[in-house]
Assembly symmetry: C2
Homo-oligomer: 332 residues x 2
DNA sequence: ACTATATGGCGACCATTTACGACGTTTCTC
DNA sequence: GAGAAACGTCGTAAATGGTCGCCATATAGT
């Protein structure tokens, strides 16, 4: 592998000059520049990243920590992050936290030990305090899907409460009053926020929240199945179900279809996230759009702005929107 | 940040000794070892990866290049790769090729420039020759989802032809003879292989392949929709459709349901890939299992074995299996 | 001619690995 | 039992391939 030294010899200039044309092009004449470029091309020179990182203390890498890689949720986010960073010649190192505090912390340490310039974190289990402390260290972090008042500037998040509200209000507007709710795990912030929105919509029309029509799932399809079995097991009537994500809806609906029920005539459903499949499942899912890919992109742009000093605008909070399709209908 | 020098001072030993306890612990007495370990703990020492990589010419990173990050397909694969490598304290750098030759090559260059120890490639557009040449360079590569005879040892792939065969044979066994086929893009190897399998199954029972019952899609849901519109537009009868992946099935089925057709009574479908959603879509998809996560894991293990010299067994070729659920039924 | 500025060279780092060799102790051999 | 060989342990110093500040020099502007 050719080194910067070889290039300097071939071009007939000094090491520093070669280094200069690679970095800031300030203070090097166009003629020299071309000579050096030609030499680099001839040698097929490729700068040694490790040496660069060691000398400059900048790795051009950002660590991305997500809860999981499978499932329909994180793919679009990662795709946007990769694209935005890649366009700026930066690379992303991935790590998975599995929604477990110990593993999340371990992953952060791992990423830090790999010398990332910054971290993009989608963490659920770790405490606010931990993140606040982490944000004070020398490597910047940006949080996706989480709001912490003390470090709000580096939080990119969705107004989950509003999303939960929109889902339930939609059903209310369709005449439903007996609305069951299949939630995500209580330990996850977004799950509790969505539930809050649901309760607010209920309260707004004077309907009290009925714990018997509530089931705590884990965001996976199977818990949608479990949730429906549980709800059918209760001796309560309900005409609609809101699920805290689309995956649980799909599990829930499959139970109903197996029982010969018609959706949405016999039971209305509203989901959350608007994952790609929501449009192709039958019936097409009425759901709340979660612009996760935009949030991923914004996290990357945030870094470009704050860490790598690009001059761009970033926004921190995203608003969910209701997407009306065919899984919920007017009561009666 | 504490350096190895600080540790050596505190422990009262030389730099080399500290380095020795970090790497091969050979030739360092237990007493010194403990002193050094204690000093490292006291200082919260964390080795500088860049310096390590520069000096040892090993980055402990592997680049993973996939066609896309969104969609249901690559998540499970990435998850397995990350887990396997992470367990060995290695990290993965991601890049996306978008099924385009120029972008794939650019991504390979990118990954190489980032100093990866090895590359895991799931590339579709790039030529065999390019990959053969690449495999002769100093950084090892392993290919997922692709078979190239000249470098078969580093190929991890699925017997796609067999999968296509199994899908169609299943329908034939159910009495179907007029079987439409919605393919993936002809430029993708797996798509053409699956189609070959389909044709073989047809030929086996003396049914000739009818170009009018063939549609070339692009593996996305929308092209399943397009495909059905096209097929319905032909003046041909058919009683079953095999789609080259599950996403296209889901698009195709949605068209049928909109037309008031019943699946599978009016039309049978067989998919391919067995993506997680195949179980929750209604009807549940009869499909061909594609053990993509196992292939991802195997690629990582291959690297652990060949590059990092672990003593493990790896297998290169995976066999698809038919998963019978409810989207295809006996004719008549 | 004088000064401001553009340009290029020198050399000190950056934090680690590793070849080589020093040194002390053990073991072998005669 | 003495000298030599072998061995285990550890330190020195030379890479590894860059970046960057500082200084000298060439060039241009006034």
């Amino acid at each position: 592998m050719a080194t910067i030294y070889d290039v300097s010899q071939l071009a007939g200039v000094s090491l520093a000059t070669v280094s200069r044309v690679m970095n800031k092009n300030t203070n090097v004449s166009e003629k020299t520049r071309q000579k050096v470029l030609a030499a680099m091309a001839e040698l097929g020179y490729r700068p040694n990243t490790f040496a660069q990182s060691l000398a400059s203390n900048c790795s051009n890498s950002v660590g991305v920590l997500v809860s999981q890689l499978d499932g329909p949720y994180y793919g679009p986010m990662m795709a946007e992050i990769e694209a935005a960073l890649r366009a700026d010649n930066r690379h992303v190192i991935i790590a998975v936290g599995h929604s477990d505090a110990a593993q999340e912390i371990d992953s952060v340490e791992f990423l830090l030990s790999k010398g990332c310039d910054a971290l993009i974190l989608d963490v659920e289990a770790v405490s606010d305090d931990y993140l606040i402390k982490l944000s004070q260290s020398s490597t910047p972090i940006v949080l996706i899907n989480r709001y912490i008042a003390e470090i709000s500037d580096c939080c990119i998040y969705l107004n989950n409460e509003l999303g939960g509200y929109l889902a339930t209000r939609h059903l209310i507007e369709l005449g439903h009053r007996d609305i069951a709710y299949i939630s995500g795990p209580a330990k996850k912030h977004d799950a509790t926020e969505r539930l809050e929105g649901h309760k607010r919509a209920l309260a707004e029309v004077g309907v009290s929240f009925d714990p018997a029509l509530f089931f705590e799932g884990d965001y996976k399809e199977d818990s949608g199945v479990e949730g429906m079995h549980y709800l059918f097991g209760q001796d309560k009537t309900f005409t609609a179900v809101v699920c805290a994500n689309d995956q649980m809806v799909s599990g829930a609906i499959s139970v109903c279809l197996e029982r010969g029920m018609r959706i949405p005539q016999d039971l209305s459903f509203v989901g959350y996230d608007n994952i790609p499949f929501a449009r192709y499942v039958s019936p097409k899912l009425t759901t709340v759009n979660n612009p996760i890919h935009e949030m991923g992109k914004m996290a990357a742009l945030w870094l470009l702005k704050h860490l790598y000093k690009h001059d761009i605008e970033v926004e921190n909070v995203f608003e969910p929107e209701l997407v009306v399709r065919n899984s919920a209908t007017r009561l009666g």
